[in-house]
């Protein structure tokens, strides 16, 4: 469904991605793992059209989307949920969700999806008239995922949905990501929480220095001695260095 | 020497001689003009000065000399005015400077012309300080502010009342008019101001002032401001419900046509002092009005036009009486000769409300040429406004001097 080949990009003159290849087949959950600052979010930004692609190709549903405008990419059904838990704090929860449905004009469909989001995350329904700025970290994460769902996406890019959340909340959110995937939405999840991500995903890529370092089935990676030692043990940043040496 | 070369030498010599003779007999009198040519009126009276000088040239010039006129716009900005004066004096090497419109521009130029010894004749500025600097090179065609304030106050105190409110805009000319009027009301009648408000030059909203003036119950309101601000204040004075029985007194810019044009009916009854009344029924004034209407499309010329016109005539008279060499060696001597010739103009009767006379001393008495002001009132507002002359007052020559 999403195919990235030889992706090169960066900020200003600083190159971050140096020929990244990866693929996400339809209906699957794929994880992109790697230490802090390795370019995971940069790759998502390039896919979503927020930064220019210098070289390489991005294909979505068989169509080239590299360097298309972000709103054009969204209209093709590819939605990103960024890592900053960026809600619109001065809008209500329900307004936030409605912004997500901006590209759609089928009112009944939007209403149905709103109910679906409330079904996934009942706490959002309780708080739907509240300003998003008053929500807790976990609730905001639910809100931004819900907002992405409101666009009726074919595929979602989730950037570190577990960051800075309590384990119980993470579990709840991951269970819902799984439900979303089962409903037919393809998912690429970026994570530093490698263990959880490998449980959730069926396939995973590990990024380093702007390239894919390892890839494989999640189960295999989970039992791979190298991965186990370096990612599932100590801190991610240290272990990735150890892995290389 | 062959015949051919001889012939060429003779030819050259003859050419040289005729060339020299031509420059010696008739030269160019260089006149520099700097004025405020921002508004439509400003551009038109600037043009009129140039056109009038042109007509003198077409009629054969002055004593065979042609006038070479350079017109610059100073936009009523003193830095531009001084730059223009310097440019005209040092680059164009003018014999005579005409300018400027705004007092704030004329004042610093007086220092320039005094230092460079170039005669300067002023078409519009009324600030009394202009002639009090002691420059021997400056001449003022308009009525000095010291006379205006006296005439205005005398009329107001005797015919309207002594309880006057003042609305004074922040531009230099209006401040000057406003202060002079208050001082005159005090010195002539011992009357203190009933209400004074300083307002921004482009103030929009005068309602609070008008409300206070209304409750103060005054005999008259003096609005000292540039034309459009004055017009706005006039309109709002009626909107606030101040009755027409309270007289509206204008500052010198009340003579500018935007005042009746913008204020409309609110201009009716507003009176002001000026050096010329379009309602003047002397033949010369009627002819002038007609000429300005035809040439420049101005409905009724105000004193900015008449003074510019009088200035050209005075310059024409003075240049006619001056003995000019008009070569580069005699530039300073020619400038002095022109100055002395202007100082010799006495009792010029033109469009102005009274005769214009100058004399040699570098004093306000000698250099404020016109001391007769007319009091003019609008009897109808709008673009086709109508004025009437209330009074014509000649002030003593020393009036307003300490």
């Amino acid at each position: 469904m999403l195919k990235v080949t030889g992706l090169e990009t960066g900020y200003g003159r600083v190159q971050i991605l140096r020929g990244l290849d990866m693929e996400v087949p339809q209906g699957r959950i794929v994880a992109l793992l790697g230490g802090n600052g390795t370019g995971k979010s940069t790759m998502l930004r390039a896919v979503s059209g927020l930064i220019r692609v210098w070289n390489g190709q991005i294909e979505f549903n068989g169509e080239r989307i590299d360097n298309k405008a972000p709103d054009q990419i969204v209209r093709r059904g590819l939605i990103q949920v960024t890592q900053g838990k960026d809600s619109y704090p001065s809008m209500t929860v329900e307004e936030n969700l409605k912004v997500g449905a901006f590209t759609r004009s089928d009112k009944p469909g939007v209403a149905r999806d709103l109910e679906r989001v409330y079904d996934y995350f009942p706490v959002l329904k309780e708080r739907r008239r509240q300003l998003a700025g008053t929500l807790s970290g976990g609730e905001v994460q639910m809100l931004v995922i819900g907002r992405g769902l409101m666009a009726a996406p074919k595929m979602m890019l989730l950037d570190e949905p577990s960051a800075a959340l309590a384990p119980k909340v993470v579990l709840d959110i991951f269970a819902n990501i799984n439900r979303i995937a089962r409903s037919g939405v393809t998912i690429l999840v970026v994570e530093q929480n490698v263990r959880m991500a490998l449980i959730l995903a069926s396939y995973a890529y590990i990024i380093r220095d702007g390239r894919i370092l390892i890839e494989g089935d999640a189960d295999d990676l989970m039992h791979d001695e190298n991965v186990k030692m370096s990612f599932l043990g100590g801190t991610v940043a240290d272990s990735s260095r150890e892995y290389m040496s | 020497m062959t015949t051919t070369t001889k012939g060429i030498t003779a030819l050259l010599a003859a050419g040289l001689v005729t060339g020299l003779a031509a420059t010696a007999l008739a030269g160019e009198i260089r006149i520099g003009v700097t004025m405020r040519m921002v508004s439509e009126n400003g551009q038109k009276y600037g043009q009129m000065v140039v056109d009038e000088f042109d007509m003198i040239n077409k009629a054969g010039g002055i004593n065979g000399h042609t006038l070479d006129v350079t017109l610059l716009n100073d936009e009523c900005k003193s830095d531009k005015g001084v730059a223009n004066a310097n440019k005209l004096i040092f680059q164009e090497k003018i014999h005579l400077l005409v300018g400027s419109t705004c007092s704030s521009v004329s004042l610093p130029i007086v220092d320039v012309t005094a230092k460079t010894k170039v005669p300067q004749i002023i078409p519009h500025s009324t600030n009394e300080k202009i002639t009090q600097k002691g420059s021997a090179w400056v001449f003022r065609v308009p009525v000095s502010g010291r006379y205006y304030a006296g005439v205005n106050a005398k009329y107001v105190g005797e015919n309207i009342g002594k309880k006057i409110a003042y609305l004074c805009a922040a531009d230099a000319a209006s401040q000057n008019d406003c202060e002079a009027m208050q001082a005159q009301m005090k010195s002539q009648f011992g009357a203190e101001a009933a209400y004074v408000a300083q307002v921004q030059e482009k103030e929009v909203d005068f309602r609070t002032h008008m409300q206070k003036i209304k409750s103060a119950g005054v005999d008259g309101i003096m609005i000292a401001a540039l034309a459009e601000t004055m017009a706005r204040a006039l309109v709002q004075s009626y909107e606030a419900g101040i009755p027409a029985s309270v007289n509206r007194i204008g500052s010198s810019s009340a003579s500018n046509s935007p005042v009746p044009a913008i204020a409309g009916d609110a201009a009716k009854g507003v009176f002001f002092t000026a050096a010329y009344a379009a309602a003047d029924d002397r033949p010369i004034a009627r002819l002038f009005n007609e000429m300005v209407r035809q040439r420049y499309g101005i409905h009724a010329p105000d004193h900015d036009f008449s003074q510019a016109y009088d200035l050209v005539r005075i310059v024409e008279i003075a240049l006619g009486n001056a003995d000019l060499k008009l070569d580069s060696a005699n530039l300073a001597a020619d400038r002095t000769a022109i100055r002395d010739a202007i100082a010799n103009v006495k009792g010029y009767q033109g469009l102005a409300s009274g005769p214009i006379s100058f004399c040699a001393e570098a004093t306000p008495q000698c250099r404020d040429g016109n001391r007769t002001a007319v009091l003019i009132a609008y009897t109808k507002g709008g673009k086709d406004y109508v004025t009437e002359v209330l009074a014509r007052v000649t002030m003593p020559v020393d009036f307003g001097l300490k």
Binding site: R52, P70, I79, Q80, Y88, S90 | Q200, H209
Partner: protein
């Protein structure tokens, strides 16, 4: 100083009726600031252009006054969009981001203000033009008379604010505008055409200024330099209310209007304009972010 309640009422009324106009100009300035991160110093000239358009429609083309307001708003809005598209957007990174606002944008606003003044000067000249709108006899409240134009101004200004409020709160496009104002990247990721919305915001802000210009027109004459004083007052209003806050802009406008009239009435009649800035300093001393301002936004 003698005091009576009728006069006090009159001064407050005068303040309110001019304050709403400051308010709608301030609203535009705040809208642009929150939407584009530009402190728009050329907004006074936009207001002046609006007034001229209104004058051209109403006086020279004979369009009825209310329609002239609308037409002037449309024309000025379009003018604003062109200015934003052709000039401002080029000065920002990658076209349409407006994320590196700074000195450049401030200077560019000043430059635009000079350019617009000169264009207006060349098109209409420096002379003030009367803008008479005959609405009949003034309203009378006892001893106070209030021209109909002021009443109309207040009504139309409030109406515009209500329409804007409805637009922003109740319509999909309004929601998108707010989304763009709050976070452009996220708005982009929600499929919103951010450059288009930015143009819309700018056009809207300019249309509001135009409405103010046409409303003020009958109270004063229309003139090339009229924008400066309005810009100062509207800025004071926007800052008093909290820069970037829309309700703040309106409340700020009303406060500036009332404060300057009361100051002129009871403190000193001289230099009424000082009071706007006195109020500004007072408010900033107590609440540095203005009355409705949130804490200073930190850009990611």
């Amino acid at each position: 100083m003698d005091f009576d309640f009728t006069s006090l009422f009159a001064f407050i009324l005068f303040g309110l009726t001019i304050g709403v106009v400051y308010g709608i100009v301030a609203l535009g300035i705040s809208l642009i600031y929150s939407g584009l991160d530009i402190v728009h110093f050329a907004h006074g000239e936009i207001y002046m252009f609006g007034a001229f358009f209104g004058l051209v429609f109403s006086e020279h083309m004979g369009v009825p006054y209310p329609l002239a307001i609308l037409s002037a708003m449309v024309c000025t809005g379009l003018l604003g969009i062109v200015i934003e598209r052709v000039f401002y957007r080029r000065l920002t990174r990658a076209g349409g981001g407006y994320t590196v606002a700074g000195m450049g944008m401030i200077i560019c606003g000043f430059g635009m203000s000079v350019v617009l003044q000169n264009i207006a000067y060349l098109s209409w000249g420096a002379d003030a033009e009367p803008f008479p709108v005959d609405l009949g006899e003034p309203f009378q409240f006892g001893d106070i008379s209030l021209p109909k134009s002021y009443g109309l101004t207040a009504v139309i200004a409030l109406l515009l604010m209500a329409v804007l409020h409805f637009f922003l709160k109740k319509t999909k496009i309004g929601l998108a505008v707010r989304a763009v104002a709050a976070n452009k990247d996220i708005a982009f990721l929600m499929g919103i055409n951010v450059p288009l919305m930015i143009s819309l915001i700018f056009g809207l802000a300019c249309a509001l200024a135009a409405a103010a210009g046409v409303l003020i027109g009958p109270m004063q004459s229309v003139q090339v330099e009229m924008g400066y004083l309005m810009l100062m007052k509207a800025f004071a209003a926007a800052v008093v209310g909290g820069f970037g806050s829309l309700p703040g802009a309106i409340v700020g406008g009303l406060l500036v209007g009332i404060f300057e009239n009361l100051g002129a009435a009871y403190i000193s009649p001289n230099h009424k304009d000082i009071y706007a800035f006195l109020l500004l300093i007072l408010v900033l001393m107590v609440r540095p972010s203005g009355l409705f301002g949130v804490e200073v936004r930190v850009k990611a």
